[in-house]
Amino acid sequence: MGDSRGGASPPVHITPDEVQRFCEFLYRRTGISFTESKRYFIDHRLEDRIAATGSSSFQAYFSLLRADADHEIEHLINSFTVNETYFYREDHQLRCMTSSLLGGIAGHKPPGSTVRIWSIPCSTGEESYSIALWLLENWPQVDSYNVEIVGSDIDTRALKAAAEGIYGNRALMRLSRDLIGRYFKPTTDGNHQIDEGLRDSIEFTRANLIDKQDMARYRNFDLIFCRNVLIYFDDASRREAAENLYDCLRPGGYICLGHSESMSRISPLFSVCRFPDAIVYQRPEADHG
């Protein structure tokens, strides 16, 4: 959305009461919970949106937001989500995927079957592409299964960037020169675009972790990467997200969380699996709930 202001105007003053109303709204729509300690972050983004929509006051902006005029809810969510990551981040979990998890998953399926992997939230695609790259380079059975990788995020702007697959040097810092040479093409402005074949191998979709109806569209995943998002949720939303993710997994399927997150503290539904490379959580095999 463009900035409809004619020129720079002084920022709109937002009262603590207004911030609270706004946070309640954001929480209801996304499950993202901000405390007073994030006041600066909230103010800054709210001011940006108020200015971009040409609203004269918080109240005017809030009315526009609640009416979802010009898809303002989507623009707002896009401005509040954090989209900074890089390829092969927390690669011990990728190693765990090929050294431990896929052996168990593929062991239950005949060759030629589908293996479904979900990266949520996928942000601008680094994690989803990392999964595909890692499989190509490290899983000897990569051609024996029909691997479906889905990347989902609540932020449509991030999804668009993911589908384009253009990255700067920082996002590629963990990849070898050889990998970059084989799977990326340099762009004229000094960035790198990921191989078209890799872009074709991943489906990017919009999904909201705490929207049960939305999540019901996603089923039968063998493996889910859901890293570093539950930390933004409060206890109730975290539990709701965990229950939704549970329903998205096949019985026996696994979920990888971020290094500072523990499913044991969120929900009793999952079993803890300690593999040499990582601790992951499993939907129990016998549970067909």
Partner: protein, 131 residues
């Protein structure tokens, strides 16, 4: 290797999985082959009729047109296309499937998974690119 200043040896990879196509393409390009791709038998027929290839690698189970049908269709074309060497790479490991592939016109059959080195070795032999 296959790139000795002359035109590169051209391989068409036919598989409905983009990740599998990418895996074979990456291995073969690293070894100096030039690789084109098709996602099913119909697209593969269009490719071989419009461009010259030295080898086609084809999967069996694909939507729209499977590998057996593709091979039979290939073998009844004009001579330069009909004689194109074909390597089948499939998860199907039953003797019956291998026999049907042979009868349909496959020159060689490999069961997935295929390691990079084995892929390159077989492709080199079938295209005459091996040293």
């Amino acid at each position: 290797m296959v790139d000795n200043g002359a035109a590169k040896t051209r391989v068409l990879v036919v598989d409905d999985s983009s990740l599998v196509r990418l895996y074979y393409r990456s291995a073969l390009e690293k070894a100096g082959f030039e690789v084109e791709q098709a996602i099913n038998g119909i697209e593969a027929i269009e490719r071989v009729l419009s461009q010259p290839f030295d080898l086609v690698i084809v999967d069996i189970n694909m939507p729209r047109m499977d590998g057996f049908t593709f091979l039979r269709s290939l073998r009844c074309r004009a001579a330069d296309v009909a004689t194109l060497p074909a390597l089948v790479i499939s998860t199907e490991s039953e003797m019956q499937d291998i026999a049907e592939a042979r009868a349909s016109g496959a020159n060689f059959y490999l069961v997935k998974p295929v390691a990079e080195a084995d892929l390159v070795r077989h492709v080199s032999v079938l295209t005459g690119a091996a040293r």
